[in-house]
């Protein structure tokens, strides 16, 4: 699924970084990508992020006007990834499970 890129053309954002996040299954990677992509980038002119799922890997391509901007964006994405991963660990494949008190 093509990632959503903001209006700012990618060339003007010199700082680039790609993050590859491995998942157990391709479905999980796709779910992660589709969970992260809807939220708009606040400062479209300073930063662009594309989300893609290639097989079992989530591909995050960051372009920004400075390294700081990218670092902030990455920490934000990783925060959300934590929730996504925790959800996957807890609930993936357990739609038919009756959870009990540990």
């Amino acid at each position: 699924m093509a990632g959503v890129s903001s209006q700012q053309s990618v060339e003007e954002l010199p700082y680039k970084l790609t993050l590859k996040v491995p998942f157990e299954t391709a479905r999980q990677a796709l779910i992660a990508s589709q969970t992260l992509s809807p939220d708009p980038i606040l400062k479209g002119n300073e930063l662009d992020v594309t989300y893609d799922a290639e097989d079992t890997t989530l591909l995050l391509k960051f372009s920004g006007i400075s390294d700081r901007v990218i670092r902030v964006a990455i920490s934000n994405v990783i925060d959300n990834l934590k929730t996504i991963v925790e959800c996957i660990d807890e609930f993936d494949g357990k739609k038919d499970v009756l959870f009990e008190e540990e």
């Binding site: 779910i31 992660a32 589709q34 969970t35 992260l36 992509s37 809807p38 939220d39 708009p40 925060d79 959300n80 934590k82 929730t83 996504i84 925790e86 959800c87 996957i88 807890e90 609930f91 993936d92 357990k94 739609k95 038919d96 499970v97 009756l98 959870f99 009990e100 008190e101």
Partner: protein
């Protein structure tokens, strides 16, 4: 004419179950609700299967910041969802839809919760339903109290609105022109360094009960709206004079007794609640109603409820409705309930349409499940 709420019922399934996620402010709430087929009524009530809440508490004198609140919600959301499923004794397969607060509220906290909602919805292949936080309060209040068409006073940390239903919209009749009442009380609690446990507003209420002398504060109602920032500045000024460096001794003119912090809390409540009751009364007269429903965290304040009751009693068989803290304080069950009503009238949100917004006015919602 009543709206058909079963157009989207699953064949062979005699009920609906919805999971609701709330995190627009410092309370993270997950609730599971069950509706049977057919119209909701006194004989066919919605059933609360679970209603779990975890509140992000800050040290005395400090408010909750969006970033820290979002971190709290992220840490707890999966565990609270699990706890809600356990207590409700349901499986993913029982669930019809996952509802989430789409706004209004704080950006980062809303986003931290919707990430969990999107992930779970995709994992279990369930539809998502975006809910207006305030409509959640209204619908839950109506369901719990049985008030069919009340004028609603929505008073919380982030909102102060008087709302009345008309032609499939919850119309805003009057509202704050600056800060919300909960915010005003919380900020004064911080000025007095009152603990935030269980909630600053609750602690202000306990102190106000011990207050005796009324301190003069500006009364700022403007037509159907009201403004509170001036009152807050005024009462904070008094507090700083009394407890700051000069610790000026203020004295009550009539009794000669010194003014205490309790008196300040008492006076602040009296002036704020008088204004709220006045604009509510104006809306009630305008739509010729005799039912008042108070929702939102500040609605659990007994003095506000008492004053509202005194006002509504003056109207022919006037009736006041309020819910206890399980429902009037932000919770997940209200989002599940309002979301399920939306789902049963055909509302679902595709992933691209699950972006949360800080600004989401109550009257933007098309109330498809009502037709009175």
């Amino acid at each position: 004419m009543t709206v058909d709420l079963d157009k989207y019922a699953k064949p062979g399934k005699g009920y609906y179950i919805a999971l609701g996620l709330e995190g627009s402010a410092n309370k993270l709430g997950v609730g599971v609700i069950k509706h049977n087929l057919g119209q909701l009524s006194t004989t066919n009530r919605a059933e609360v299967l679970s209603n779990i809440r975890d509140t992000y508490i800050t040290p005395p004198g400090e408010g909750f910041l969006p970033r820290d609140t979002a971190r709290h919600h992220r840490n707890w959301v999966v565990r609270v969802i699990k706890k809600a499923l356990i207590e409700a004794k349901i499986k993913g397969t029982d669930i019809d839809c996952i509802c989430f607060t789409q706004g209004p509220g704080m950006g980062a906290p809303l986003q931290s919760v919707v990430v969990a909602a999107r992930t779970l919805a995709q994992l279990w292949d369930l539809p998502l339903v975006g809910v207006n936080h305030c409509v959640g309060h209204i619908e839950m209040g109506r369901e719990i109290t049985g008030a069919d068409n009340p004028v609603v006073l929505y008073v919380s940390g982030g909102n102060t609105q008087v709302i009345a239903y008309s032609k499939q919209r919850y119309r805003i009749f009057g509202e704050t022109l600056d800060i919300a009442i909960g915010n005003c009380l919380d900020r004064f609690a911080r000025t007095l360094k009152i603990p935030n446990e269980p909630a600053p507003g609750y602690n202000i209420e306990q102190m106000a009960k011990k207050g005796k002398h009324l301190v003069n504060l500006p009364y700022t109602v403007k037509g159907m709206d009201l403004s509170m920032s001036g009152i807050l500045a005024h009462v904070e000024g008094l507090a700083k004079d009394m407890f700051g460096k000069q610790n000026k001794k203020l004295v009550d003119v009539e009794s000669g007794e010194p003014i205490t912090a309790e008196d300040l809390c008492f006076s602040l409540q009296e002036i704020l609640f008088s204004m709220l009751v006045e604009i509510t009364e104006r809306a009630i007269a305008h739509v010729n109603s005799n039912q008042v429903l108070i929702v939102g965290g500040v609605g659990s304040n007994e003095r506000l409820q008492e004053m509202m009751k005194l006002m509504i009693q003056d109207r022919k068989n006037g009736q006041i409705y309020a819910t206890d803290e399980r429902f009037c304080i932000d919770n997940g069950i209200m989002i599940a309930h309002a979301g399920l009503l939306g789902y049963r009238t055909g509302q679902t949100n595709e992933l691209w349409n699950t972006i949360c917004t800080q600004r989401f006015r109550t009257d933007e919602v098309f109330v498809k499940w009502r037709d009175d």
